[in-house]
């Protein structure tokens, strides 16, 4: 089977067109607070990581085009029953002031906010302060030593001074939202001030499992076969079943939430036929080669999702590791001369224990149950070296059409 690059490219481009033309986002119900303090309800494109601090894409309705708000254009935005992001003015590394988006983690007499990975404290009458560690150069016995100071402990001491029972806890707290948010909550309770610990917007499941199976259309090709003329012919694709399990991992905060890592274990058993004929005047020589491969495949790669209102198209790319569990090869040669046909079974080649390759594909996730997505996928895989004997090189091409389910 010869699957030309031109054909595959054409299919890929056509499919990309579908995705691009429907490149809608993961929309969640939310709101923006305008500069005139008006709250406008609508939909906010869900973003995770650094992107959520750069801009906010607001939709009056899912079918309309988004309005992109930057920090200086609104006072706040938030997800219904989720996180709230407000704007604050900070002194950046330059003397100029800068308006940025900050996630509100705890709101009270003392508030805790987050910008990218940095935490900030806010208290009426005090300077808006970043919690940080600083490195300073010191000279000890005339040796230059770089020392790290927990400056944030001093900042916390200053902001939470009027609640002395927290002093011991402040000395041991780590510089993380997970550790400092409860401390700020305790402080506000200590001061009997109204306190609101903001909910985080559910990011969705970080790890998801799935089952997948379908049709594998496979072919084997050979290169460098001057001394193997019997392989210099047509490969005939054979269909086989293909199935396995996979797991997807959402990348940590700081990356786009559309990119998942994906790994799986799949099994497939395929028999390939290879045919060559040399129709001479005296004799007609025909060669058939049969290759049986029982394979375990472990793809490791990424899935780029394009979440829409209901469906989620995706693209996948992976490194394909293949282990040949049980293999066999046989060759069958016939020589037709006059009224007689003679058959021979010459020796063939040995299949490698495994091979590497790469795969790419596209698919669609559709919600079919409260806990499951249905999945359909078309995938192309190219692997190297099922045979590596002298000048004889080989490759396997697979096209798979699969369906399955995945945990939501």
């Amino acid at each position: 089977m010869k699957f030309s690059i031109k054909r595959l490219t054409f299919i890929a481009l056509l499919t990309l067109k579908v995705f691009v033309s429907h490149g809608q986002k993961d929309l969640r119900e939310g709101y923006v607070v305008t500069l005139t303090s008006d709250t406008v309800n609508g939909f906010i494109e869900y973003r995770d990581g650094v992107a959520s601090f750069k801009s906010c894409a607001f939709y009056n309705s899912p079918d309309e085009n988004p309005i992109i708000y930057h920090p200086h254009q609104i006072l706040a935005y938030g997800y219904r029953n989720g996180s709230v992001t407000v704007t604050r003015t900070i002194n950046s590394q330059t003397p100029e002031e800068k308006i940025v988006f900050m996630r509100l983690l705890v709101k009270g007499k003392v508030s805790l906010l987050q910008h990218t990975s940095n935490l900030w404290l806010e208290k009426e009458g005090q300077k808006f302060t970043a919690l940080k560690k600083v490195k300073k150069v010191q000279y000890i016995n005339n040796k230059r030593v770089l020392t790290q100071f927990n400056e944030y402990v001093g900042s916390l001491n200053m902001f939470l001074l009027d609640c002395p029972q927290l002093q011991n806890e402040i000395q041991n707290v780590k510089l993380s939202a997970k550790d400092i948010a409860p401390l700020i909550e305790k402080y506000n309770n200590c001061q009997q001030a109204e306190v609101l610990v903001m909910k985080d917007t559910p990011p969705g499941r970080r790890i998801s499992f799935g089952l997948e199976g379908g049709l594998n259309i496979s072919s084997v090709g050979f290169n460098g076969r001057k001394s193997n003329a019997y392989l210099n012919g047509s490969t005939y694709k054979l269909h086989s079943s293909y199935g396995g399990v996979f797991v997807t991992f959402r990348l940590p905060t700081g990356f786009t939430d559309r990119l998942n890592l994906i790994a799986g274990v799949y099994y497939t058993a395929t028999q390939y036929e290879y045919y060559h004929q040399d129709l001479g005047n005296v004799a007609k020589v025909r060669d058939q080669v049969f290759i049986n491969l029982n394979q375990l495949k472990v793809p490791l790669g990424v899935r780029l999702r394009f979440p829409m209102k209901k469906y989620t198209p995706f693209l996948e790319a992976a490194v394909a590791l293949t282990s040949n569990l049980n293999t066999s090869t046989s060759r069958f040669k016939t020589v037709e001369s006059g009224g007689s046909v003679y058959a021979y079974t010459p020796d063939t080649f040995t299949i490698n224990k495994g091979q590497t390759g790469f795969s790419g594909g596209l698919g669609l996730l559709a919600p079919v149950h409260a806990k499951f997505y249905a999945l359909v996928k078309v995938q192309y895989e190219h692997t190297f070296g099922i045979v590596n004997e002298g000048a004889l090189k080989s490759h396997v091409s697979n096209i798979r059409i699969t369906a399955g389910i995945q945990l939501r």
């Binding site: 299919i11 579908v18 429907h22 069958f332 046909v341 079974t345």
Partner: protein, 217 residues
Amino acid sequence: MKYLIKNILSVSILTGSLLACENDGIPKEQFPVLITESVTEIQEGTATLNGRFHDEGLSPIVSYGFIWTPMQSPNHLYAEKIEVGTSPTSNRFEASITFGMEKGKQYFVYSYAKTDKQISYGNIQQFISNGCQEPAIIDFSPTVAQPGSVVTINGENFSTVNALNQVKFGTFTATVLESSPTQLTVIVPEALNVQSVPISITIFGILVQSDQNFSLP
């Protein structure tokens, strides 16, 4: 959404049609293609030959079975042959042979299948024979005939190679016209001048003699 479904449908149809354009099988030939498998159950006086059809071909098969010879050629002068059938009923076939094997000798086996126009031979297999079963003469006819007449001898475990069946009327050697495991067609020796003689057959050094004598008129 309708637009999306339409687009996905068009991609699916296009992909399917591209896949459908590919070849989907090795071309079929007119002649059958056979595989000779290993010889099994090699015992005193017997062996089992095994074969299978890899492809029966497009032309009807009129005969199939096995050939075994002491040389690597299915057309050898001393090639023995057994027909298993005329029209295959299953992919695999076998024959338990009790004739045409000399003890301790290496033989090369080929499966074969004939059509009206061609004969196909399977690949070669080899085995060391443990000998054949003793031939036997059951009867012959006519029992009275002139020198030069044709006599048919019925029996068991004859060689299918004329030259390997040494037939004698008394001490006079007869010419064998046709041989099968159960029947020989021979010519009464022209030189036969004894009124009544037994018929004897020697195959691979094993001599058997008829109970009944052959007589001249």
